[in-house]
């Protein structure tokens, strides 16, 4: 598939998941996490909050097109609780 058609696929509604995937996944240090919720604001495609405001994080590898957003979520956490790494899951 040419690069052009790959981009077209990505741009189509509902097919974001067809993009290539990085080797990185997200994790949260649950002891540090205080439920501020910035991560879910910045990366709603992979992070949502439970009824008390604590993150529920997708265990999938972060797709390439979301990597910048994932890095922003990591950098913005005031408690430095979000991780992005190979096998970044805390458990």
């Amino acid at each position: 598939m040419s690069e052009l058609s790959a981009r077209r696929w990505e741009g189509s509604p509902g097919v974001a998941r067809l993009g290539t995937s990085s080797r990185l996944s997200l994790g949260v240090d649950r002891i540090r996490c205080d439920g501020r919720g910035y991560c879910a604001e910045l990366l709603p495609e992979m992070i949502r909050l439970d009824d008390w405001g604590y993150p529920i994080v997708s265990s999938e590898r972060v797709p390439d097109h979301l990597l910048d957003h994932a890095r922003r979520a990591v950098a913005t956490c005031p408690l430095l609780a979000v991780r992005l790494a190979e096998d970044g899951r805390s458990r």
Binding site: V28, D29, R30, I31, R32, C33, D34, G35, D50, D51, W52, G53, Y54, I56, S59, R89, S90, R91
Partner: protein, 403 residues
């Protein structure tokens, strides 16, 4: 023919077996080091603390890291229904010491910590007396650490943190103890029954363990003679319940694996083999080896509410999902048990218990959530009845205990 291996030897109600008797009865270890690790693999020995991780693989992961290394013999038996670890330490302390020393040899550790629950006085006394009987060269490698009385004290990162700084609370991983444990050193944290079993495998080999190996189970709840029973791997649940005097009346369900295990309907439970891998294949967990039948006239909803309330209270209160999620689940279970449920309570229990696993530094919330989900399955009719008719018809109120 006796099947006892771990608990073979003199009467369990008497004094702990002394070093001389222990040596005369079992002889020296024949396997050590890498050969012993191979035998653990061959026997497929699984950890007996609850998680069931392959023991050989765990030893190898510590041995493969740069030294110096540390071994923690984990005898902090925080599970309220389990008594097998303290009985083993109390009755056969030298077998546990053998296992700890063999583990230290195999992973090349120069320090061994005996981590024993503060409430297990008889076990700690027996271990200390046994240690005094060991040669000075061996004895010097040991230190004794008394774990605070709490459910999470025996969790492996909590054990490490207690030895390091006197706080028995779980830590975030990574790093895991095999990477950085006691004083930052690669640390093997291994349950005392696993160590004692390794000491038998060092004498009899991995093939022996595969064909004739045993495990300790605590049979409690609705049985005539609750207690610790040693039995062959693969023994059906019904057989250990019978050996504990059998149930005094009809049984509706059975708690397998302790508070971190799960409920199983009685009709599905009797034939299950007490073997960690076969139970896992059947989507159950041996956990720490607790088998607790629940009488037919008790209320499964109430018992579950009581256990989860206990577990919620035992949270280390470090992680939000455990503090708030587990707390809310426990409160909801109590409401349902008392016939005071809100219309959405069953749906919320289902969602919250599904969202909880994997969201704590340790597995405390995972274990509690698993228990709740098993209760929702096994006691589905009871939950519906409590919810729809706003009450409990069983003989026992919320304050009653499983045992």
């Amino acid at each position: 023919m006796s099947i006892a291996s771990l608990l073979d030897g003199p009467d369990l109600r008497g004094e702990a077996e002394p070093a001389t008797g222990h040596r005369a009865r079992l002889g020296p270890s024949l396997l050590s080091g890498a050969a012993l690790i191979d035998a653990l693999d061959q026997g497929d020995l699984r950890g007996r603390g609850g998680a069931g991780f392959p023991v050989g693989k765990k030893w190898r992961s510590v041995a493969g890291r740069p030294g110096p290394r540390v071994v923690i013999a984990n005898g902090a038996e925080g599970e309220p229904l389990s008594f097998k670890d303290r009985l083993l330490m109390q009755a056969r302390p030298h077998l546990v010491l053998d296992g700890a020393t063999l583990a230290a040899g195999a992973v090349d550790a120069d320090q061994i910590v005996l981590y024993i629950g503060r409430e297990h006085s008889a076990a700690a006394d027996a271990m200390l007396r046994a240690l005094a009987e060991r040669p000075p060269r061996e004895r010097r490698r040991f230190q004794v650490s008394r774990a605070p009385v709490a459910y999470v004290s025996g969790e492996e990162t909590a054990a490490v943190q207690f030895v390091n700084r006197g706080v028995a609370l779980p830590m975030s991983v990574p790093p895991r103890p095999f990477e950085a444990g006691v004083r930052g050193r690669p640390t093997l944290v291994q349950n005392v029954e696993s160590l004692a079993t390794a000491a038998l495998i060092a004498r009899r080999g991995g093939a022996w363990y595969r064909s004739s190996g045993t495990l300790l189970v605590t049979v409690t709840g609705a049985v005539a003679r609750p207690g610790v029973i040693e039995t062959r791997l693969g023994t059906p649940v019904a057989e250990v319940v019978e050996r504990a005097g059998g149930p005094p009346g009809p049984i509706q369900a059975l708690l397998l694996g302790g508070y971190f295990g799960g409920w199983i309907a009685a009709s599905d439970a009797w034939d299950l083999p007490l073997d960690p891998m076969r139970l896992r294949a059947a989507r159950h967990s041996l956990g720490c080896g607790v088998v607790a039948p629940l009488a037919a006239d008790r209320c499964g909803v109430t018992e579950t509410a009581r256990i989860v309330t206990y577990l919620g209270g035992q949270s280390a209160r470090q992680c939000g999902p455990c503090v708030f999620g587990l707390g809310a689940i426990a409160a909801t279970l109590r409401r349902i048990a008392m016939g005071l449920s809100h219309p959405d309570d069953l749906a919320r229990l289902d969602r919250w218990s599904a969202e909880l696993p994997g969201r704590g530094a340790c597995r405390h919330p995972d274990g509690a959530a698993g228990l709740v989900r098993s209760a929702l399955r096994v006691f589905a009719d009871d939950f519906a009845h409590h919810h729809d008719h706003r009450g409990c018809t069983a003989a026992t109120p919320l304050t009653a205990g499983v045992a």
